[in-house]
Amino acid sequence: MLEEIVIAGFGGQGVLFTGQLLAYAGMTEGRNVTWIPSYGPEMRGGTAHCTVIISDEEIGSPLVKRPSAAIVLNPPSMAKYAALVRPGGTLVVDSALITERSGRSDIHEIDLPAKDIAADLGLARAANVVALGALIAATGVVQLETIVKILTSRFAARPEVLLANKRALRMGAEYVIKIVA
């Protein structure tokens, strides 16, 4: 098992945190993981991305040219990564913020209005978690329950934030399951 995932968007959308959640989950499930951020001279509102690798084998390069999956949360990231996802890979697009489509028939593109779904839950900032739920449902890279466990310990002191995040994760996953069904 080898997944090489890029998560990209604006600074402040939680792309680095989303990647850390995924890496934590992979590690918790006993796999090798790496998480590496873009760390240019960046700022809130600028672009940010991270690469997460989850593998049964020892991980060589922590960077990849062509990821097996990507979550894109803003138009510049869509422009960059839509073409780079490997054939047969998965592209999760927040269609509430991105009007373009990849136009590729050789990848699984999942367009879901993550920001709108999160806003309906009363936590607009959880769009990243909605998108993560979709990615996990589409790829099975980790178990949703593992993410829930990590969120539970992370937000132990803030039950309302935890509840919203758990719902966001489930809504994202259910959106994908509905498409497939």
């Binding site: 850390q20 890496a23 934590y24 590690m27 090798n32 993981v33 790496t34 998480w35 590496i36 951020p37 760390y39 240019g40 001279p41 020892e58 991980i59 060589g60 390069s61 922590p62 960077l63 990849v64 040219k65």
Partner: protein
């Protein structure tokens, strides 16, 4: 002991704390700053010394002062900051006091950029400051290895009364990986007969790097050279992957070695037998092992994130036994596995023994920027 996800910079800082770090002096610079930031909280919490100095020049001289008292002391920086520290390092080497440095290398020369690089090799490995001296240079290729090497760096520094440098790059500093942290050590204070601890009740001691009379200074130099000979005899470390049946040997350190590892996997899947020798100590350099391996392996490819620095040490070790090619990316570029795979394929195609049918199909990648044929 369970695995935790740690960012390289913070993991190194925590490993140093657990090794018994008593004093840290530093100055912020990307991509190393989280190391200093972490210690700015952690050290005062433990009642230990943390000072953000006014410059790297000040920081290394504070390290010098603390090292003279025999405490476990460290600083960290990135390439331009390391340049500023070279004078202080020469003085520390001449004074034979132990200390630990971390260089989270970035793109150079000059102010360069903050992307990962390996172009400080010459500066770190060949001395850097003036005079005949060496630092022990350790090059981790993962966050776990950075932790392990940092934890042992203080012991090495004290054992040989030498400078130990952790030579990593921005990738290692910024990356998160699972780590098992070593246990917290007791701080041990002892008197080895040289530390400046206050002369009450004993003869006073002097630590200096000055030796005005050539006879005196030559004697100091002979003593230093004896230390370096002992280090070369006992502290060489390296890791090997798939060298047993290899037709082509890659030599690479740190991040470049990880990327080479990915390329080697791909090459083997295509039937090209490639192995990896990864120096963990850049000084002392694993010359003897490279010489031994190249008695049998006739093709060597050196991969670095610089214009070709370690390759000179590889050539010295190889002599005329094998051909040595070089591939590097510069200015903060991190090579991708397929670029290295292209180099492997080109070498395999040139050498009938190493090339299975179709190996040459992978050519057409970037040409080696420098190449040497034996």
């Amino acid at each position: 002991m369970s695995k935790e996800l740690w960012k390289g910079n913070e993991a190194i800082a925590e490993a140093a704390v657990r090794a018994g770090l008593q004093a840290y002096f530093g100055y912020p610079i990307t991509p190393q700053t989280e190391l200093l930031e972490y210690l700015s909280r952690r050290m005062p919490d433990l009642g230990r010394v943390f000072v953000q100095a006014e410059s790297e020049v000040a920081a290394i001289n504070m390290v010098y002062g603390a090292a003279c008292t025999g405490v476990r002391v460290m600083t960290s920086s990135s390439s331009p900051g390391m340049s500023l520290m070279q004078e202080g390092l020469s003085y520390i080497a001449g004074s034979e006091v132990p200390c630990v440095l971390v260089d989270m290398m970035r793109g150079g020369p000059g102010l360069g950029n903050i992307a990962p690089g390996q172009a400080d090799y010459f500066q770190l490995v060949k001395g850097g400051g003036h005079g005949d001296y060496h630092s022990i240079v350790l090059a981790p290729a993962s966050v776990q290895e950075a932790v392990t090497l940092t934890y042992t760096a203080f012991d090495l520094a004290e054992k040989h009364r030498a400078i130990v440098i952790i030579a990593a790059d921005g990738n290692i500093g910024q990356m998160m990986e699972p780590v098992i942290m070593p246990p917290m050590r007791e701080i041990v204070t002892g008197d080895g007969g040289w530390q400046l601890t206050g002369a009450r009740g004993r003869e006073h001691r002097v630590i200096a790097s000055i030796g005005l009379e050539p006879e005196q200074l030559e004697a100091i130099n002979f003593r230093l050279q004896a230390r370096y000979a002992a280090i070369q005899a006992s502290e060489v470390r390296y890791a090997e992957l798939d060298t047993d049946d290899a037709d082509i040997l890659i030599v690479a350190f740190g991040s470049a070695a990880r990327i080479a590892h990915s390329a080697i996997r791909e090459a083997r899947a295509r039937g090209i037998r490639v192995g990896l020798l990864r120096p963990i100590t850049l000084w002392p350099f694993p010359s003897a092992r490279i010489a031994e391996l190249t008695k049998r392996i006739s093709r060597v490819l050196v991969v670095e994130m610089n214009a070709g620095q370690m390759v000179e040490d590889v050539r010295l070790a190889v002599g005329s036994q094998a051909s040595v090619d070089f591939f590097g990316r510069l200015g903060g570029f991190v090579p991708m596995p397929d670029e290295i795979l292209g180099q492997i394929a080109a070498i395999a195609a040139r050498s009938p023994a190493a090339a299975p049918a179709g190996a040459g199909d992978l050519t057409g990648f970037q040409k080696p920027i420098r190449s040497w044929q034996a």
